[in-house]
């Protein structure tokens, strides 16, 4: 990489570039005043669809640390590999990752899980036509470019805390002068997350039901941590057009098991969830997978913790 003048160097701060919101949030929490964090995914934008613009590429090249998640934003992966491999931290490193197989739900005679497929659309050029593609098809919205590994590890507070520690270690290496501050910040971040984890455990453990019906399988880590059964309608991606038979099957299941709520995600179109809800007489509610926050969320002062609290409230209502 050339020209490593470091954009943050002007004001003496380390420059940290993060792929999308949860990574940026963790970096801010851990880095505190010593770092300037750039979130490559603008508020409200689909992370997977990100096309890096020349100025963003320059930021990646010049950054002191790039926090990314392998297989999540293809163009960032490639940029890191080529131009920032020494300064990069893969958020998945050292984590106990879930694959979509089986772990998430048991209802998949036909393709269920897998989470997400990818989609990219408006983002990079290519997609688009592409975008089209799915576009053509599906209802859309959120999506994920991940292979058979589920990337949404920040939805499990304990795994998210490990990411905080990893970032602290790297920052300490780069900026030994402030190493203690980073470690302390990471610890505080971990404590907040432990508290959140306790709240989830408490309310979910005492609940009547343990089925969560979602429009797609973004909540595997949440389900894994709290022993829930995630039943994803479209199976994989929210972009994927659901098979009518799958929708009928889930409607039947909802009726049989007395599930009360069908969840959809903030950024995805609620159409599939609403249709299944209408068919089965259940209600709909939102769960936020937190891949990115909208400008309104940020203006309203929301952050990871407040959104997770809202998710918890929605879960409590649905499970009891």
């Amino acid at each position: 990489a050339c020209g490593n003048e470091g954009s943050g160097a002007d004001d003496g701060k380390l420059s940290v570039v993060a792929g999308f919101y949860p990574l940026a949030f963790a970096a801010e929490q851990v880095g505190g005043d010593h770092v300037a964090v750039t979130d490559l995914t603008p508020p409200g934008e689909e992370a997977h669809e990100l096309e890096l613009k020349p100025d963003q590429m320059a930021e990646v090249v010049d950054a002191d640390l790039v926090v990314h998640l392998d297989d999540f934003i293809p163009s960032l992966d490639k940029a890191v590999e080529e131009y920032a491999s020494d300064n990069a931290l893969d958020a998945a490193e050292g984590q106990d990752l879930l694959t979509f197989d089986g772990e998430i739900d048991s209802h998949d005679d036909h393709g269920g899980e897998e989470g997400h497929d990818d989609h990219g659309h408006e983002g990079e050029e290519g997609h688009d036509d592409h975008g089209e593609e799915e576009g053509h098809e599906a209802e859309e919205g959120h999506d994920h470019d991940h292979g058979s590994v589920d990337p949404h590890l920040w939805l499990d507070p304990t795994r998210y805390a490990k990411l905080g520690d990893a970032i602290a270690d790297r920052l300490a290496e780069i900026d030994a002068d402030n190493a203690d501050d980073y470690r302390a910040n990471a610890e505080a971040f971990g404590d907040d997350l432990a508290e959140l984890d306790a709240k989830f455990t408490e309310s979910v453990e005492g609940s009547e039901r343990d089925d969560i019906v979602t429009s797609h399988a973004a909540f595997g880590y949440l389900a894994d941590r709290y022993d829930l059964d995630q039943i994803a309608i479209a199976g994989l991606s929210p972009d994927q057009e659901p098979a009518p038979a799958r929708m009928a099957e889930i409607s039947d299941y909802i009726k049989e098991e007395g599930v009360t709520t069908v969840f959809f995600e903030t950024v995805a179109s609620p159409a599939v969830a609403e249709t299944v809800a209408r068919e089965s007489g259940a209600e709909t509610a939102t769960l936020n997978p937190l891949e990115s926050l909208t400008a309104e969320d940020l203006d309203a002062g929301d952050d990871y913790f407040s959104v997770m609290e809202a998710n918890l409230a929605a879960l409590e209502k649905a499970l009891n």
């Binding site: 036509d129 659901p242 009518p244 209408r278």
Partner: protein, 292 residues
């Protein structure tokens, strides 16, 4: 799910209605579109719709309106390009395609903090999530389009078949062209919200080219295309419900299968009749000469 229990589900009933109506209605517009070699118009309009939604979100206007405005103006520009530059229809379409995508990407990148990211949820429907209101709207709108196209059939076919002659003989070519392309734009913009862009743009074309393999006149092709569209639409929903596969893609693949089947059958029929030509040929010749 079996073929008998399938209709117990409301969403399948509505999906079936929409698929059959779009199957009937899209080819009526599509026949003229295909005749003028604009087979990819539907897809192109879909690309432009992306820019339309982006503009709507940026200006805080209801995206349906900006989409309609964007697609209708794209249709008008395509027509003007075709008429006034040396470009043929496919070139005009290509410019619309790439301009539409690039415009959408560009606008989103300029103002990504306004929730523009979520374009696609404004764009793409799915057959299986249609509601009662959707079904009613599609039914009424579809019927209106079919009636309009049938009434104007001779005029629209004349401008599609030989535009220069139509112009010379006083047919209001420009007005009819605009009417046709704008109808296509409205059909695509409205129904892609409900049934998905792939489905509506494919049904604009595939039934028509299938019908053209066996049709012997413009009118018979028009009618056969409607029948093929409705068959494929309805059949696709049933098959997809039975086989655990997505409805939109199934309908399209079924349409392509029908096209292949019909094309091969027609080719075989030609071959067979050629080989036993001694018989019918002679008969033909006789009937012709006696009629003389």
């Amino acid at each position: 799910m079996t073929i008998t229990t399938m209709l117990d589900y409301e969403f399948i009933r509505y999906g079936l209605i929409c698929a059959v109506v779009v199957g009937l209605c899209a080819p009526t517009v599509g026949t003229f579109i295909v005749q003028r070699r604009l087979a990819l118009l539907g897809d192109g309009l879909g690309h432009v719709a992306i820019t339309g939604v982006a503009v709507g979100l940026l200006t805080s206007t209801q995206p349906l309106w900006t989409t309609l405005i964007a697609t209708v103006s794209a249709a008008v520009i395509t027509e003007l390009l075709r008429t006034y530059s040396k470009a043929s229809g496919d070139v005009a379409l290509a410019l619309m395609f790439y301009g539409g995508i690039a415009g959408g990407v560009f606008l989103t990148s300029l103002a990504s903090d306004k929730g523009v990211a979520n374009l696609h949820s404004y764009l793409f429907g799915s057959l299986m999530t249609t509601t009662r209101e959707d079904a009613v709207a599609i039914g009424v709108g579809g019927a209106a389009v079919v009636v309009l196209m049938v009434l104007l059939l001779p005029w629209l076919s004349s401008i599609s078949i030989d535009e220069t002659y139509a112009r010379a003989s006083g047919v209001p070519v420009m007005a009819l062209n605009m009417l046709l392309l704008c109808t296509a734009a409205v059909v695509v913009s409205v129904s892609m919200r409900v049934v998905g862009l792939l489905l509506v743009s494919a049904l604009l074309v595939i039934p028509v080219v299938t019908a053209a393999q066996i049709g012997r006149s413009f009118k018979s092709t028009f009618v056969l295309a409607m029948i093929a569209g409705a068959l494929v639409g309805g059949g696709g929903v049933v098959v997809s419900a039975l086989l655990f596969v997505p409805a939109g893609a199934t309908i399209v693949l079924l349409g392509i299968a029908l096209f292949v089947l019909v094309t091969v059958a027609a080719a075989l029929a030609r071959l067979v009749s050629k080989n036993r030509r001694g018989g019918p040929a002679k008969a033909d010749a006789i009937s012709l000469s006696s009629a003389d």
